[in-house]
């Protein structure tokens, strides 16, 4: 840990949390750090709502005939699980909580470029979320999170209209967040904070913002058309009225595939920060990493029809999109290699965030490689719409995005709260999450590969062992999610005082007090060092790498 023990720092008297009091000071705040906390509470709420649906699905699948609910309810459970998790947890989680809190701090700004629009984004999220909850409570939603037409626009008897409206409105929250980040990164950097001195976290959020800006409006239009089709009996995507249902799928996936990168790119940023911090080495191939982030954002827009290989498209189009899908794996692989190379001969320590980062690399690797199975035309026809697909995207979204989020939350918790969480419990909890996750989802690869379809409420008896294993894993997974809530809340009062830079790390966010003052920095910082330059930073109190016995 910290080689030269610095004298313990006092907890700052005035910081962003106690700068103002009362409910109005939170609901009308324009401080990016307070808005991040508003998001933290709301996305956590949606995470547990989505989690309850997941738990019910897993309990139901304990027996081949289905254990708990009617087929109709089962359809609603997996739909509402997907909608809550994707639109209201995974997409906003890292950008709106950690990105919001950290981007201005990392580039030495006082706030995002548009603080009031930032607050507006949160309100749009809450209004959208409220409408979706209303849909859940007034009959539920059974279309699948993908809202395929004409099921969603004509045949479904569930509360589709409020859900579609809610996701439409929530889309503008995402668009405005992306816009705000992009403009902030362009115009608000402190003196000396050049583009290639920015932390990778900022770069990946830059790439994410591009996707939010270019992709989200398209899904907004698409859902608006599908919603109007349902309300006014129009025929844009209804074959009975001359419309084209495959067009809906194209438009939907034009956003919703890049949306996967909205979820994973910010997590990649988090992992980059964690690994440099706990390997105490500069990020290997920094510029290549920035290029890989942008490449993922760009190529990610050119792979969407791999969701539709069996939905009716020309073989040549399928071939091209299959090839492009292979291509998008390249920058992801570059990142994985670079993280590994960063750790090579570093002074690696196994603090909680690092455990999450290890989990991320392993799980993302499996998730990414199984994605190639699905991107390959021949194999996709065999495993399309099976539990294999479910396992694949949970490895990316939970193993990737959620592990990144949890790792980031732990890395920056001392900055957000000014307190340290209990390290031992946190490490155990990270390991429990990893074990529970694999036990839940690895069996799903197997059951999918040998033929269990997804989204079915019953299954042949030969799949029962694997399903029971998966459900047992889910109960372990739940513990891994619930325990951090307790110890993080506990640490707010009882945790050790963190000080400015407890790990230590090189970013600007660690130069200010923990928790930071409302204006972030007492004086606007001036950046004179390169990104992750552990060697030339005597202020960090680390021995030089050479003296630590490394090259």
């Amino acid at each position: 840990m910290n080689a030269t023990a610095t004298k313990p720092e006092a907890f700052p008297e005035k910081h962003y949390v106690n700068a103002e009091y009362g409910i109005r000071s939170w609901l009308l705040t324009t401080d990016h750090k307070r808005i991040a906390l508003l998001y933290l509470v709301s996305v956590t709420g949606f995470f547990f709502i989505g989690g309850i649906f997941a738990a019910l699905i897993r309990i139901h699948l304990l027996t081949p005939a289905g254990y708990l609910v009617t087929p109709e309810t089962y359809n609603k459970l997996f739909t509402m699980h997907g909608v809550a998790m994707i639109f209201f947890f995974l997409i906003p989680a890292i950008p709106a909580v950690l990105g919001n809190f950290l981007i201005p701090l990392m580039i030495g700004a006082k706030d995002l470029a548009f603080p009031r629009i930032n607050l507006l984004s949160w309100y749009l999220y809450m209004i959208g979320g409220g409408l979706v909850l209303f849909s859940f409570l007034s009959g539920g939603l059974d279309t699948g999170w993908t809202f395929y037409t004409p099921l969603s626009s004509v045949y479904s008897n569930s509360a589709v209209a409020p859900a579609v409206l809610g996701i439409f409105i929530n889309g503008f929250s995402s668009i405005l967040t992306g816009l705000n980040f992009l403009v902030t990164i362009h115009t608000m950097r402190a003196p000396g904070m050049t583009w290639f001195r920015m932390p990778m976290f900022v770069w990946t959020h830059y790439a994410t913002s591009i996707i939010m800006i270019l992709g989200t409006p398209v899904v907004a239009t698409t859902l608006a058309l599908a919603g109007m089709e349902r309300l006014f009996h129009l025929g844009f995507f209804n074959p009975a009225l001359g419309g084209d249902p495959v067009l809906f799928q194209h438009l939907f996936w034009f956003y919703s595939h890049p949306a996967v990168y909205i979820m994973i790119l910010p997590a990649m940023g988090v992992i980059s920060e964690i690994i440099t911090t706990f390997a105490r080495k500069p990020l290997f191939g920094y510029k290549v990493m920035t290029a890989a982030s942008l490449a993922i954002a760009v190529v990610g827009f050119l792979v969407w029809t791999h969701h539709m290989f069996v939905a009716g498209q020309s073989t040549y189009a399928a071939l091209a999109f299959s090839l492009l899908t292979m291509l998008v794996a390249v920058p992801s692989a570059v990142k994985t290699f670079n993280w590994t190379a960063t750790m090579y001969k570093g002074s690696v320590s196994y603090d909680t965030p690092m455990l999450y980062a290890f989990g991320f690399i392993g799980l993302f690797l499996i998730g990414g490689l199984t994605g190639l199975f699905l991107g390959t035309l021949g194999t996709d026809i065999h495993i399309h719409d099976t539990m294999f697909v479910v396992a694949h995207f949970h490895y990316i979204m939970v193993g990737g995005a959620v592990f990144g989020y949890m790792g980031g939350l732990h890395l920056w918790w001392p900055k957000i709260s000014g307190r340290m969480y209990p390290e031992f419990v946190a490490r155990i909890s990270a390991i429990v999450l990893f074990v529970g996750f694999n036990m839940t989802f690895f069996p799903q690869f197997v059951m999918g590969y040998i033929g269990m379809p997804r989204r079915y409420h019953t299954y042949p008896p030969e799949f029962q062992v694997l399903n029971v294993l998966s459900t047992a894993g889910a109960s372990i997974l739940a513990i891994g999610y619930i325990v951090p809530i307790f110890y993080l809340l506990w640490s707010i009062r009882h945790g050790a005082i963190a000080g400015r830079n407890p790990w230590p790390s090189t970013g600007l966010e660690w130069q200010t007090a923990s928790p930071p003052p409302t204006e972030n920095f007492a004086v606007t910082p001036e950046v004179t060092w390169e990104a992750y330059d552990f060697d030339n930073r005597p202020d960090l109190g680390l021995a030089r790498a050479a003296d630590r016995g490394h090259k």
């Binding site: 006082k110 362009h186 115009t187 800006i213 084209d244």
Partner: protein, 215 residues
């Protein structure tokens, strides 16, 4: 978020504030292009699937009213550009005048649009139960598709015009207070950008909906 004069506290200089605002508007317009892009694509694909019915249905549109509206909108873009020029050169009275002219032209557009919509309503061309179109069930459905897209696209455009009119009203109010000077005129410039954008959308909508295959 405190403010000194026109400068918000989280910016260091007025130049930085202007740059952020201007980039923000440009990026917003990019999101708007993508937003309209989805529905333009839906139109293009349906048009290519049913070229004959779409051509026939488009002949029901009132090209005279559409043409007048195109001229009105181009004129409003001119007055808007003049308003931006007036704000940059400190001509406060002309600024107000040009803003009001733009607002009037925008309202004329919306008025003409109202009469056009009313005409479609009387001719039973509004999608729904009372939609009527000569030919078999199939061509009726496809013509209804055309009119769904017509109302969707022009309606979305009209909605943007209404938002623009609201912004212009606000600019008129602020310009009467003399708020815009050669040093600070970002809002005029940005509303100008937005107004021109909405104008350009119409420049595409008019030929796509009214003019293709019209002999």
């Amino acid at each position: 978020m405190h403010r000194t004069g026109e400068l918000y506290g989280h910016f260091k200089t007025p130049g930085q504030q202007r740059e952020a605002a201007s980039l923000g508007m440009w990026v917003f317009l990019i999101t708007e292009i993508m937003f309209f892009g989805g529905i333009f694509l839906t139109y293009a694909i349906n048009r290519s699937m049913y070229p004959d019915i779409f051509a026939e249905a488009s002949r029901e549109l009132n090209v005279r009213m559409g043409g007048i509206n195109t001229a009105v909108l181009i004129a409003s873009s001119f007055t808007m550009a003049m308003a931006v020029w007036a704000s940059q050169t400190g001509k406060k009275k002309q600024l107000t005048l040009f803003l009001i002219l733009t607002l009037i032209l925008g309202s004329v557009f919306l008025g003409v649009k109202y009469f056009e919509y009313a005409e479609k309503f009387h001719h039973h061309l509004v999608p729904g139960r009372n939609f009527q179109f000569p030919g078999d069930v199939g061509s009726r459905a496809h013509a209804q598709l055309f009119f769904s897209l017509y109302f969707g696209m022009t309606g979305l455009h009209a909605l943007h015009m209404i938002v623009g009119a609201g912004l212009l009203l606000w600019l008129v109010k602020e310009s009467l207070r003399g708020r815009y000077t050669p040093q600070y005129n970002t809002p005029v410039e940005l509303v100008g950008l937005y107004w021109h954008f909405v104008d350009i959308i119409w420049i595409y909508l008019f030929p796509l909906l009214y003019l293709i295959d019209r002999h």
